[in-house]
């Protein structure tokens, strides 16, 4: 948190709090731009953003599993059987 804070520009804390909206593209344009400026000028925040994105990508990668085939077969058996009764 060493970046000198200029009036009207976001602080590191504010950047930290708005990061999700920033990466999701949900900030109004002026806000988005002032965050971008801060990130360009503040290496710790820039690195924080990078690691924030790396964590997201790795999470997605590690959680994006498929249902195992054996369970899919059992799901189908179960439903065919149940639906007959309806």
């Amino acid at each position: 948190m060493s970046h000198p804070h200029r009036p009207g520009e976001p602080t590191c804390r504010q950047v930290f709090e708005l990061l999700s909206e920033f990466v999701d593209g949900e900030l109004a344009q002026p806000e988005h731009e002032s965050l971008s400026r801060h990130l360009e000028a503040c290496p710790p925040c820039e690195e924080f953003l990078k690691t924030f994105q790396v964590a997201r990508a790795l999470c997605r990668e590690s959680l994006l599993q498929k249902m195992p085939d054996e369970l899919k077969d059992r799901l189908r058996c179960f439903l065919r059987d149940q639906i007959k009764k309806i």
Binding site: M1, C12, R13, F16, E17, L19, S20, E21, D24, E26, P44, C45, E47, F48, K50, T51, F52, Q53, V54, A55, R56, L58, C59, R60, E61, S62, L63, L64, Q65, K66, M67, P68, L71, K72, R74, L75, R76, F78, L79, Q82, I83, I86
Partner: protein
């Protein structure tokens, strides 16, 4: 054909008694519903139970789908319901996480922002390390309180919009975004701790 139109066509066919159309719907959604269930229940048999229950309810209730929301939103709601029913039915046997501790960790206002002294974003590209990190993250996701984990899964893994997630969970958009942000910060922090503790 756009996703929603295909869903609508399949729903119409199921209503007309076409069972193969229901199997097509299952093919489209079984992995998604399974990921939701396994993320919340943590073991395969319980997850399968919830997925079976979810699809059976979708079949039974298909006439009540009015097309006011996307079919996927409707289906996720049913699936979540099945997951929560199963969770509740066995919750007596399990100690849930201490929510206070996690709320504390997850509250950005209380977090002392620890900026990386030395960057680790490049180190995370290391192929061998990635496997290890995937495990660290799976554990971190599992440590999230349920209401954060579900938002995180729907948003980051299934890539639904914040509005869809809010609709599915019956939450305000603001609450959805806040929890999502906290979950993301928590997961980043878990990764950071691991990597910085791992630096020689």
């Amino acid at each position: 054909m756009p996703v929603t139109d295909l869903d609508t066509t399949l729903v119409e066919r199921v209503r007309g008694g076409d069972k193969s159309a229901f199997e097509d719907l299952m093919l489209r959604y079984e992995d998604k519903v399974y990921r939701l269930a396994i993320g919340m229940m943590k073991n395969r048999e319980d997850a399968l139970d919830a997925v079976q229950d979810a699809f059976l309810n979708v079949y039974r209730k298909i006439d009540t789908f009015r097309g006011e929301s996307a079919f996927s939103t409707w289906l996720y709601k049913i699936a979540l319901n099945s997951v929560y029913m199963k969770l509740r039915s066995r919750s007596r046997h399990e100690q849930t996480e201490s929510l206070d501790d996690l709320e504390h960790i997850l509250d950005p206002a209380r977090v002392r922002i620890q900026m990386p002294i030395r960057g680790w974003s490049e180190r995370a590209d290391d192929r061998l390390l990635r496997k290890e990190l995937a495990q660290v993250l799976r554990e971190a996701v599992a440590a999230l309180p349920e209401e954060y984990r579900i938002i995180f899964t729907l948003r980051e893994v299934e890539e639904l919009s914040n509005q869809e997630v809010a609709d599915i969970l019956g939450l305000s958009l603001a609450a959805t975004k806040t929890r999502l942000h906290r979950a993301r910060l928590f997961l980043r922090q878990s990764l950071s701790r691991y990597l910085q503790g791992n630096v020689a």
